[in-house]
């Protein structure tokens, strides 16, 4: 070896190495910059900062709050309203003071207590415990509601059904976006295909819900494959744009193919689901008649609630199971690195198509449930905003996280409804305040805050699908997001 003229691994430029070693030695122990020691006490500093903030607000808002112009006879009338101006300055002062004194300058970090809690529960399967509690609540919810909140029973049950529909849609989309990493902005298309498949089969061929449900799922899966083919070669933003277009195409076709889909008038008279042939209405041969209990309209809602709960749990079960199967692992591998997948002999075309088909199938199930619940569908229910909400649920919950989707659905769908009823805010903002007008604003603000606080979603860790000795959560920074994010 020694006689060859080739550069060898041992022939490093030693001089440069020694130089950098010396530099490192010299730097050791002293930080390059040191902050000047603070001279003021904490209170004085906080007061100063609050003063500066209040001053800025005073200057910036003087024309917006202190003066007011109104249309008056012969031009504009200028009125001064210093009270409002001073109130806003005071809000800024107090807010900044509280932040500076209690949070920014605090010796102990404010989140210390939280960290202590998370450290203490590090060994526990927190996700599993929360999941089990949520499942228990979900299973007993109709009874809890009729026991504790009988006055709002029907409204809350209806809201729960809506939330569960979105949980199911979120779980379905999670397969495509969260696991396979393919950003799909047109997921509502499969929801629409499922709904219309059921509605058309039921009204034209007089088939029941339970017969149509698997057919609707299959149709939606077929459409998933049809979407899958053209987008196979697309990456990133282009994938997102084509899926977005696909969603719109489906909606526009439903809107314009009037003699088949009913066009903008939609489809009426979609049958309700039955329990082994027992209908949920008054009269002979109904559920209440068969079991000999008095009829109540709430029975149908409870039945619908359990249908969607079962469908959602089926989605969850299949997804969790698939994650541990080769196909699910290939989805995640595809999200991590497509080229590496191909180098390992994985047919990425099949992997993508199965992801689209599986996700679409659950979307189709949810769609036919939606149709049977409403009894009426029209293209208006399948606009882009629905896709956006479902995607927001998945992203907010944390890509690939099943529990995150549940929490995000409750927060998003339940939160919007909750804001509708916040009449208590009228005490603060005056009697003219209408919470329904501001709910989207408040809601958007809340989403921005959550994304600042948890940029990768509420549950951002990934749990491995195979374990050798100990299960370790994988941090979000290591997990790839896939195409189009």
């Amino acid at each position: 070896m020694a006689e060859t003229n080739f550069p060898t691994a041992t022939a490093y430029p030693e001089g440069a190495e020694r130089l950098s070693e010396e530099q490192r030695e010299a730097m050791r122990g002293e930080p390059p910059f040191a902050e000047a020691p603070p001279t003021d006490s904490r209170l004085v500093r906080a007061l100063k900062e609050a003063g500066i903030t209040a001053g800025l607000i005073a200057v910036l808002t003087v024309f917006f709050f202190a003066f007011k112009t109104d249309i008056a006879a012969g031009g504009l009338a200028l009125t001064a309203d210093p009270i409002q101006w001073i109130v806003w300055i005071a809000i800024a002062f107090v807010g900044r003071f509280v932040l500076s004194y209690l949070v920014f300058a605090n010796d102990k970090p404010t989140v210390g207590g939280w960290k202590k809690i998370t450290a203490a529960t590090a060994g526990w399967p927190v996700g599993k415990v929360i999941g089990a509690i949520l499942l228990l609540v979900a299973l007993t919810l109709p009874f809890l509601l009729s026991t504790f909140l009988p006055s709002q029973n029907r409204y809350l049950l209806d809201l729960s059904i809506l939330i569960l529909t979105y949980v199911m849609l979120g779980w379905g989309l999670n397969i495509v976006v969260g696991l396979a990493g393919l950003l799909d902005l047109g997921y509502v298309a499969f929801y629409a295909v499922g709904a219309y498949s059921f509605a058309l089969l039921a009204t034209n061929f007089d088939l029941g819900f339970w017969v149509c449900l698997p057919m609707a799922g299959l149709f939606a899966a077929l459409w998933g494959v049809m979407l899958g083919f053209p987008v196979l070669r697309l990456r990133g933003d282009y994938l997102a744009i084509v899926t977005l277009a696909f969603g719109e195409i489906i909606r526009v076709v439903l809107l314009n193919w009037a003699n088949f889909t009913g066009g903008p008038n939609g489809i009426l008279g979609i049958p309700k689901p039955t329990l082994f042939g027992l209908e949920f209405n008054r009269g002979a041969g109904s559920f209440s008649d068969f079991f000999g209990i008095p009829y109540s309209p709430i029975q149908r809602f409870i039945f619908l609630y359990y249908i969607i709960l079962a469908l959602a749990l089926l989605t969850n079960f299949v997804t969790m199971r698939m994650r541990k199967l080769p196909v699910g692992r290939a989805w995640e591998a595809l999200r991590e690195d497509e080229i590496a997948c191909r180098s390992l002999g994985i047919n990425t075309v099949n992997v993508k198509l199965t992801a689209f088909a599986t996700g679409a199938m659950f979307g189709g199930f949810a769609g036919s449930f939606f149709a049977t619940r409403q009894g009426f569908i029209s293209p208006e229910s399948f606009t882009f905003i629905e896709s956006a909400i479902i995607l927001a649920i998945v992203v907010l919950g944390g890509l690939g996280s099943q529990l995150g989707v549940v929490i995000a659905s409750v927060v998003m769908i339940g939160g919007i409804e909750l804001l509708r009823n916040l009449t208590g805010l009228q005490a603060i903002f005056g009697a003219g305040f209408d919470p329904t007008e501001y709910r989207m604003l408040i809601f958007g603000l809340a989403m921005v805050l959550i994304m600042v606080w948890k940029p990768r979603g509420l549950v951002s860790t990934r749990s491995p699908s195979a374990i050798y000795k100990a299960k370790k959560k994988i941090g979000a920074d290591l997990v790839a997001q896939g195409e189009g994010h």
């Binding site: 080229i339 590496a340 994988i474």
Partner: protein, 319 residues
């Protein structure tokens, strides 16, 4: 010595013939032909931009070559006549009792790994960073497990056949991890491993696809001398114990000279030397390509090279 010398001509596993790859006007590989011996460690070396990685991408199907034939003979008794017949038939591969031959230039990348049994690693490591070390090796056994899971249906129902296959796959993975000293990191995300460990993991991940030919693109890049030595041991183990032929691109001559049975030197897309480590090391064309020559020696070397070229053409692999 002579017997070992002739291995790649007598018993080639991979024959690259008249391979040409053009990117627009640029000729990256120009009429390149070489053989890779069965059970050999073959090194593909050359200065930067010589076209080594392009050759790799052609062999593993990531590029479609402009011209040429790349034939992989999975077992020894595949005859030249069978190869001719297959080439004329227009099919991608033939698997008969006379031997199975695969024409890699006709196959897509994942089929080459799945059917022909050629696995590769990448110059810039491509692991599934957010998945654990163990998961990485399970993904590599995808096709085997997919068949065992009855295209997912059997796996969904939890049939015993799939469970057995899954356990076997896990055992294979654990065995390989133990071999490369990564077993205690099995549950850590792959992106968390140090660089040398990621290199080793990528190699064993490729091996989990059960290849007959393993293509490694600069496996020793960024490794320290101790890790390079470990890599040498691992590659020899793969060759000797598993019968996998290895084709590698490498710049670290310590690794190349020590473990290679056969070295092919490329420069500007052409083969300038081909032989054992000892023969290549003393080839003046190789020295000239790597180190260049002084101005006053140019004439001498050129004359020398002309003589050598003629000599090479007649003598072939007798070096």
């Amino acid at each position: 010595m002579l017997k070992q010398n002739r291995n790649w001509t007598d018993n080639p596993i991979l024959s690259v013939e008249h391979l040409t790859m053009r990117f627009g006007g640029l000729v990256a590989i120009d009429d390149l032909s070489f053989d890779v011996g069965r059970g050999d460690i073959t090194a593909l070396i050359g200065p930067n931009g010589a076209g080594k990685t392009t050759v790799f991408n052609c062999v593993t199907g990531f590029y479609k070559p402009t011209e040429g034939r790349i034939a992989l003979r999975r077992d020894q008794h595949a005859t030249d006549e069978a190869l001719h017949e297959l080439t004329r038939s227009g099919r991608q591969y033939s698997e008969t009792d006379k031997g199975s031959i695969f024409l890699l230039e006709r196959m897509t990348d994942f089929r080459i790994t799945e059917v022909a049994g050629v696995a590769r690693t990448f110059q810039n490591i491509r692991l599934f960073g957010g998945m654990t070390v163990l998961e990485n090796l399970l993904v590599a056994q995808h096709n085997k497990l997919m068949r065992a899971s009855g295209l997912t249906i059997g796996g969904l129902l939890g049939l015993p056949g799939y469970r057995r296959a899954a356990d076997a796959a896990k055992d294979t993975a654990i065995e390989w991890l133990r071999r490369v000293d990564l077993l205690d990191r099995a549950d850590d995300p792959a992106a968390d491993l140090p660089y040398g460990a990621q290199r080793r993991l990528e190699i064993v991940r490729a091996l989990c696809t059960d290849p007959v030919l393993l293509c490694l693109d600069e496996p020793a890049a960024g490794l320290n001398p101790r890790e390079s030595t470990e890599l040498n041991t691992l590659l020899k183990y793969i060759r000797d114990e598993h019968g996998v032929s290895v084709l590698l691109i490498e710049h670290d001559m310590g690794v190349v000279m020590e473990i290679s049975d056969h070295i092919i030197v490329l420069d500007y897309g052409k083969k300038i030397s081909d032989g054992t480590a000892a023969a290549v090391r003393s080839d003046p064309k190789v020295i000239a390509a790597y180190l260049g020559v002084d101005d006053e020696e140019v004439d001498d070397v050129e004359r020398d090279l002309n003589v050598k070229t003629g000599h090479d053409a007649t003598a072939g692999g007798s070096l």
